[in-house]
Amino acid sequence: MDVGAGPNLMAACYGAGAISSLLARWSGRLAVGVGHMAALAGALAGLGASLGMLLGAPGHTLTQALPTLFPFARLSLSVDGLSAFFLLVISLVAVAAAIYGPAYLRTHSPDAGPARQAAQVLALNVFLGCMSLVCCAGDALTFLLSWEGMTLASYVLVVSDDRNGENARAGLLYMVMAHGGTALLLVAFLALTERAGAFDFEALRMAATGLDATTRTTLFFLALGGFATKAGVVPLHVWLPRAHPAAPSHVSALMSGVMLKVAIYGILRFAFDLLAPAAGPLPSSWGWTVLFVGTTSAVLGVLYALQQHDLKRLLAFHSVENIGIILIGAGLAMILWRTEGGGGALATVALTAALLHTVNHAAFKGLLFLGAGSVLSRTHVRNMEELGGLARHMPWTTGLFLLGAVAISALPPLNGFVSEWLTFQALLGGAGRFHGPAGLAIVFSAAMLALTGGLAAACFAKAFGVTFLGRPRTPHAEHATEAPSSMIAGMVWLGALCVALGVAPGYAIRLLDAPTGLLLGGPVASAVVTAHGPLVLSTALTPSGADGTSISMTTVAALLFALTAMAWVLRGGWWRAAPRTAPTWTCGMSPTARFDYTATAFAKPLRLVFAALYRPRRAVTRETAGTPYILRRIHYAGEIVDLAETEIYHRVERDISALSQAIRARSTGRIYGYIGFVLGALFVALLLLGVVYR
């Protein structure tokens, strides 16, 4: 298809979807159906456009003027390699969400009135459209407007999903923090626009060349702060685990899988494009900061995820972790860019790792949220303690969720492993290049990355096992049925992506050529990573010039498959007798669901190991029958705290509100007090400005 027409077509479809919410006046169902259809069309258009850009015309930028809405700024779209890549990520997940959505909304909230349905359809399309526009924006104003539109639409989706106050509070926190972030972005952008005297990125680049080092760094950190808030970087993450689960599940998939990536886009755009000095490396403080916050977010994110019992909250915390992993790659790329001789292959590897993890995380996190959604829509329970034993009723959902779990735990042969492997290689190269503390820091973050992977595996062993395996703990879980086929289809699409990106990542690397080439100007991704053909991933980056490490996911996957088959044969293949079944061994008692290991119990050892961080609180109440030796009932309540939340946010909130209460309580209602203020103001002003001011 024609590349130029792509974005327009996409925007048109999303627009149509938004308008189709009007249909809710006649039938909510109709509006939902048509709206998601339009969204699907838009997503496919976006997919086509981005693929066309990435494969057809890498390196060339597609610009397009928009109607002049505001006299002081020229609005325009400009789609270059980076934009196209993120547009691709958005569209990939959007396709799944659009397929999945209608059935989900129908089964999850059958009692939704037309008003709510209309709001959701409208918001969904605006959300998708704005996310795509942010990545395609060619000027600061378009960027900011679509950025805010994205926030507002997702806010509407969060608060509109359910009528209870929880959503409203989550939305509030989300909105406030997003606004704070936008304030920082505003300053960062406007400082450039006022220098440039124009809003389009071209002019901003020109203006940025004249910046002195301090201003440049200040602006970068302002922007970083703004984007990090949106990306949910620790300690700016507190809104994320509340807001993401509150939205409808396919929207959660979009928020966690895609919206955070838009923030990553912003960071890359600022660091490597808008603010990058004309020549020479980036200020070292940038990359090291990003690497540091990335590592912190990765570890803390997974540690907090481990202790969640709300399935969707757990997934949301894992988004914090994965954003951290992406930032490790990005930060490393910032550190290494233009610092090394020999074309800077290492920076390319680091950036490739970050971008590849971006798309990988979009795939498996989207899959996992959709899976959680189909559980939710069938059981209306998010607390995994009340689930269990779903595997027998929901085989498809279970299998796909397991797939996602393996992928997100960075286990071969799925996609999560590939990007983490690349990250490891980049870290190894970096450690080889920097001697002294710097190298040690890099290796340390590699170790933290390994820790993260292990903890993620533990977390998903728990999440999957407790939710889907064992015995059903409540009637909700007992009477669950498999999700409708359209929802399954949505999940299969993402599941297939996880497998494809895991088994044959080499072919996806080609898509990274445009962004890596654009940002780094060094060797492109495929020239480094798939130098030995698409089936082999290699890193040609040893200081000794030796050929680094090369692995082949495809061969390993084939080997695994063959070995499984052989093991199957070893076990007797088809000729083997069907197994006898017997109750699980529980020391001779007849097992009930109470015997199953709960999520709390599963996570307990790690809770104790990391007690310093969790500050766990527990309350155990015993009801004894007269003598303390005979317990009638025992009630256990335990919780852990999010340090950032309790130590920073609650404190600030308390102080501010207390202060305002105090001020308000002290204010007078007496008129002579009012008059006194007026007189005082005049008197002071006269003295200060009339006599002193000269």
Binding site: L402, R571, R576, Y597, P605
Partner: protein, 314 residues
């Protein structure tokens, strides 16, 4: 890449490892028995057990889902595939790129993950407890292991074990730097944890208080259990192989003379034997640690590894 190990050889080495796995276990058991002044079973006992298990029929928990029966196969496959990444008789990169140390750890982690999932599948407290504890220890071991690998890999700039070994050359203990010693010390601390032995785990018992790995196998039976047991044998020898590849690189990088192959095999066997003896000694001279003392125990390894890296990089 010259001197690459042909795929055939790689697969041969893999099969070799799988076949020798039970023998190592048997040897360790025998040594333990001796150290405890017992006669003990023959070194071939594990083979007999396996043969018996494979012949038996399966009893499966009624709560287990459809996944349960495929789990032993996947676990075994993953572990054996990890075996393919360890150079046994020759160093140098494989002619057909396969995987590196990270991939090896990944495959072992995959096996562990699936085992834990299988344990949870049956329901019931024992499996869950075993899974929970296993998944508690593993994340603490992995970063240290990764650091040990890095401490040798930083110099070579690669994590591919064959290339790594080739880059180290056939350096014997006398040729070691301080970093090597510390890294090796860390490895020695980690070995019992990674192979599921005292003082971290106790392979000989299903008692609730001590078990990690064994508890997870409780619900498996017959051929399935056989696969799991074989997998744990293989896992053990693969871990030992990893150590020998990192610290006792063996065999000439190229030149496929039969003698050199035999030499390599011999040295590999020697290394394995030494490490096995070490494990046996540790097992019979230490008591199992309480679960919550394990982090401190691993902490020792962490410090060693970090120091090794510091020495290597600074």
């Amino acid at each position: 890449m010259t001197g690459g190990r042909p795929l055939g050889l790689v697969l041969l080495e893999m099969i070799l490892l799988v076949l020798l796995g039970p023998l190592v276990t048997g040897t360790i058991q025998k040594m333990k028995a001796r150290l405890q002044c017992r006669q003990g079973a023959g070194v071939l006992q594990p083979y007999r057990d396996l043969a018996k298990l494979l012949r038996k029929s399966t009893v499966q928990a009624d709560t287990a889902s459809g996944f349960f029966r495929s789990i032993p196969l996947l676990v075994l496959a993953a572990t054996v595939a990890a075996g393919a990444l360890v150079p046994v008789v020759r160093v140098g990169p494989p002619a057909v790129p396969l995987g590196d140390a990270v991939m090896l750890l990944g495959l072992l982690a995959l096996a562990r993950f699936l085992t834990a999932v299988g344990a949870l599948d049956a329901g019931g407290a024992f499996g869950g407890m075993g899974a929970s504890r296993e998944m508690t220890i593993a994340p603490l071991v992995e970063p240290v292991l990764m650091m040990v690998v890095f401490s040798t890999a930083v110099g070579a700039g690669t994590t591919e074990l064959g290339t790594l070994a080739a880059h180290r050359g056939t350096s014997w203990i006398l040729g070691w730097s301080a970093a090597d010693f510390l890294g090796f010390a860390a490895m020695l601390v980690l070995l019992p944890a990674e192979t599921g032995r005292i003082p971290v785990d106790n392979p000989d018992t299903h008692l609730e208080l001590t078990m990690l790995h064994e508890g997870m196998l409780l619900e498996h039976s017959g051929p399935g259990l056989g696969c799991m047991v074989l997998a744990s044998h293989t896992r053990q020898i693969v871990t030992l192989g990893l150590v020998s590849a990192l610290f006792f690189p063996v065999g000439p990088a190229n030149g496929a003379g039969a003698t050199s192959l035999l030499l390599g095999a011999g040295r590999f066997a020697a290394t394995i034997l030494v490490l096995a003896t070490y494990l046996a000694l540790v097992e019979s001279s230490y008591a199992k640690l309480r679960l919550f003392r394990v982090p401190q125990y691993l902490g020792v390894g962490f410090v060693c590894a970090l120091t090794a890296l510091a020495l290597r990089i600074l």
